[in-house]
Amino acid sequence: MPAPTPEAAPMQGLVASAHQTAGPYWHLVDFPEWADTTRHFAGNLPPGERIVLTGRVTDGSGAPVADAMVEIWHADPKGEYPDPNGPAEEFQGYGRCATKADGSFRFVTLKPGPVPLGDRARANSRQAPHVALAIFARGLLQHLCTRLYFEGEALNETDPVLGAVPPERRGTLVARQVEPGTWNLDLRLQGEGETVWMAV
């Protein structure tokens, strides 16, 4: 029987490294194809609805944020995340997109299903379908995080995160279907209509 791999002795007292801005030249790691999470699955996409996610990022003056890196992370259509020990080739709801001159971004992906809440007391409860959004840019010393929800989902009514947002600001998290299969959510970094940003 092979000996178990020894685990390195944990060192106590390490502190997470400080974040720093991605700056204006992060596009050296921009790969536009990453905005399409379905790109590896020409003929054999997992079952589910292919959707487009769009939006515009604006600053406190309403001007477009034209140099941002937007990232998405979400579950698959069954509401599952990839198994950390499974094949790395399965579907992953991760994408990266650079905003254009007008502050816009556009992703192609599969609509996520409801994710289990993981709360033992409410074993069957599920979160409303959602997409984690992260914005990196010049002027952001840490990335800004929020979630995108889908208008009209019944589970939106009981989702604990949406429920923690004051009703008058909830709309900043809920994407609207602007044409069949295309969902739009604009992101405001600061000021009137400011997106509900989250401490993750």
């Binding site: 390195a8 944990p10 106590q12 390490l14 502190v15 997470a16 490294s17 400080a18 974040h19 720093q20 801005t21 991605a22 700056g23 204006p24 030249y25 992060w26 596009h27 050296l28 790691v29 590896h40 600053d59 001007a63 944020v65 140099d67 992370w73 579950a75 995340y81 990839p82 950390p84 790395a88 080739e89 992953q92 809440l117 993981g118 709360d119 979160q127 984690a132 990196f136 010049r138 002027g139 952001l140 010393l141 840490q142 990335h143 800004l144 995080c145 604990p160 995160v161 429920g163 923690a164 947002v165 970094l189 600061q190 000021g191 400011e194 997106t195 940003w197 989250m198 401490a199 993750v200």
Partner: protein, 237 residues
């Protein structure tokens, strides 16, 4: 609302930069004015994308082109470990780096600094940590470059890092600096992190162990990602 899965520990006081940093002008119109909503960690935050080297090929030597042409400047070796706050190695995680060339110029259409581009230096790398959390790449020591934040504003030499970790709540982008750089004392981005020890951990260490004799000097830069909470925590939010 209760935490639903063991989440990640929240950052220590003053060990992370704020969104609103008046000395860094670009934060003025880009920082949220409303208080952030504290998000309990769920599977969305504790899972993360995986990047297979088959689909995301590594580029561990930034100094040589495919045709063998060599970049200009001082070749250096940069290596270190990616760990979590409990000292556990973060294995098989993708580390992306990007930087200016030896003259302080980015190979980027937005960079109009009057310094030469190097056709043999793109300034982008991608490596993966091993089972002990180690990564290593070979590059050119980046030059300082001016920016327009204030009079005589020059960024200290730095390499940008992007790291994913095992949970999307560990996702981070940071910068590695060099020891002894006189510009560090003047840099509002470096100084935005209030805690001095936290700032100084962003400065790499010159390391003879990593140095390759008669070839390149070595610099050590470790990255620490957030550690996991031991048990789900209750809170009143």
């Amino acid at each position: 609302m209760s935490e639903t899965v063991p989440g990640y520990r929240r950052p220590g006081l003053l060990t992370q930069p704020p969104y609103n940093a008046p000395d860094y002008g670009s934060t003025r119109l880009r920082h949220p004015q409303q208080e952030l909503l504290r998000l309990p960690h769920t599977l969305t935050e504790t899972s993360a994308p995986r990047f297979s080297p088959q689909r995301y090929p590594a580029r561990a030597d930034l100094t040589v082109q495919a045709d063998g042409s060599a970049a200009m400047g001082e070749r250096i070796i940069v290596a270190g470990r990616v760990l979590d706050e409990d000292g556990r190695p973060v294995r098989n995680t993708m580390v992306e780096v990007w930087q200016a060339n030896a003259a302080g110029r980015y190979n980027h259409p937005g960079d109009d600094h009057d310094a030469p581009l190097d056709p043999n230096f793109q300034g982008m790398g991608r490596v993966f940590t091993d089972a002990e959390g180690w990564y290593r790449f070979v590059t050119i020591r980046p030059g300082a470059y001016p920016w327009r934040n204030h009079k005589d504003a020059w960024r200290p030499n730095h390499i940008h890092y992007s790291v994913f970790g095992a949970g999307f709540a560990q996702r981070m982008i940071t910068q590695m600096y060099f020891p002894g750089d006189p510009l560090l004392a003047l840099d509002p981005i470096f100084h935005a992190t209030p805690d001095e020890a936290a700032r100084n951990r962003l400065i790499s260490k010159f390391d003879l162990e990593l140095t390759q004799p008669e070839w390149a000097l070595g610099y050590r830069f470790d990255i620490v990602l957030r550690g996991r909470e031991a048990t789900p925590m209750e809170d009143n939010h």
